[in-house]
Symmetry: C2
Subunit: 176 residues, 2 copies
């Protein structure tokens, strides 16, 4: 894995991919599937995400205030769905789904080696957690796997139906 400039993080999350979110607490790592997240700021990269208080990850995220957002490509889609179908309450998902955790640099939550990008995050604002389960995260370190060329991401339409990235188009935008 290679360093990714923090100023480029938005290019990974703005398109709306399904992602994985890892946490670690009391020596146990966990991973969940998530697609309710958005960029909030370019630099430093801030992200808003919803982690339901019904999710096992919620308590770890709130207590440790640290997580990793790992972005899987299409090849991992079947595993991503299975990760979403079970709970860390009674399952070691890294073991069950043969995912490789790697220690992160700035947070206790692990990176997911199989994902093409990994974003180490710290919770910086919890004002909307009680009412909406909405966390504001700052991405403090980002990794990209240069071996995964042009990864296609998946986009959830509900009930296991996903759009896969298709054609890439280029238009004359003044926007970053």
């Amino acid at each position: 894995m290679k360093d990714l400039a923090l100023s480029k993080v938005y290019q990974l999350l703005e398109p709306g991919p399904v992602v994985l979110l890892t946490t670690a607490r009391k020596g146990r790592a966990n991973v969940m599937a998530m697609s309710w997240q958005t960029m909030v700021e370019f630099t430093p990269p801030l992200v808003a995400c919803v982690v339901s208080n019904a999710d096992y990850s919620f308590a770890a995220l709130r207590a440790t205030k640290q997580c990793v957002i790992a972005i899987p490509s299409l090849e991992l889609a079947p595993k991503v769905v299975e990760i979403g179908n079970c709970s860390g309450l009674d399952t070691d998902k890294f073991a069950k789904f043969h995912l490789t955790p790697r220690p992160a640099e700035c947070v206790v939550a692990p990176l997911v080696v199989e994902c093409f990008a990994n974003l180490e995050c710290k919770v910086v604002d919890t004002r909307l957690v009680n009412k909406y389960n909405l966390f504001i995260l700052e991405v403090v370190k980002a990794w990209i796997d240069p071996a995964q060329k042009n990864p296609k991401t998946i986009h959830h339409h509900g009930f296991g139906r996903f759009a896969v990235d298709g054609e890439m188009i280029q238009l004359k935008s003044k926007m970053p």
Copy 2:
């Protein structure tokens, strides 16, 4: 345009499409391009979105607390980019880009007839506006254009590069 059940709104926004956001104030309607938004709750559908205070729409959104999120399909992509390249400060974008505004049912902001879905929204939480320009919206009414079959959406990767929806896949998910 046809009613869409509010319980299905998340299926439109969760995949992360580029959208349009309309506002109206003092008899003037405006429209901007946006892709920093996420679902926050299924029912009633709540959405978090970032509208920069550098955007002309910001003042109207904050003052009226109403907007419409309109979802364009691929065919509108060139117009969406042009909408993002200019400001409502000095441009009547509905006129310039030949978009058809239609009165909404519950909000002062107009629907965009050319879009395949239109979501009438009211701002319900402004606690994160001052710090992050992040608004919490409630979708109070949703419309779908049944004449637009299987619309493909676009997903911004930065600097005018967009992924277009490709193949749809179905996996065995227990998630809504």
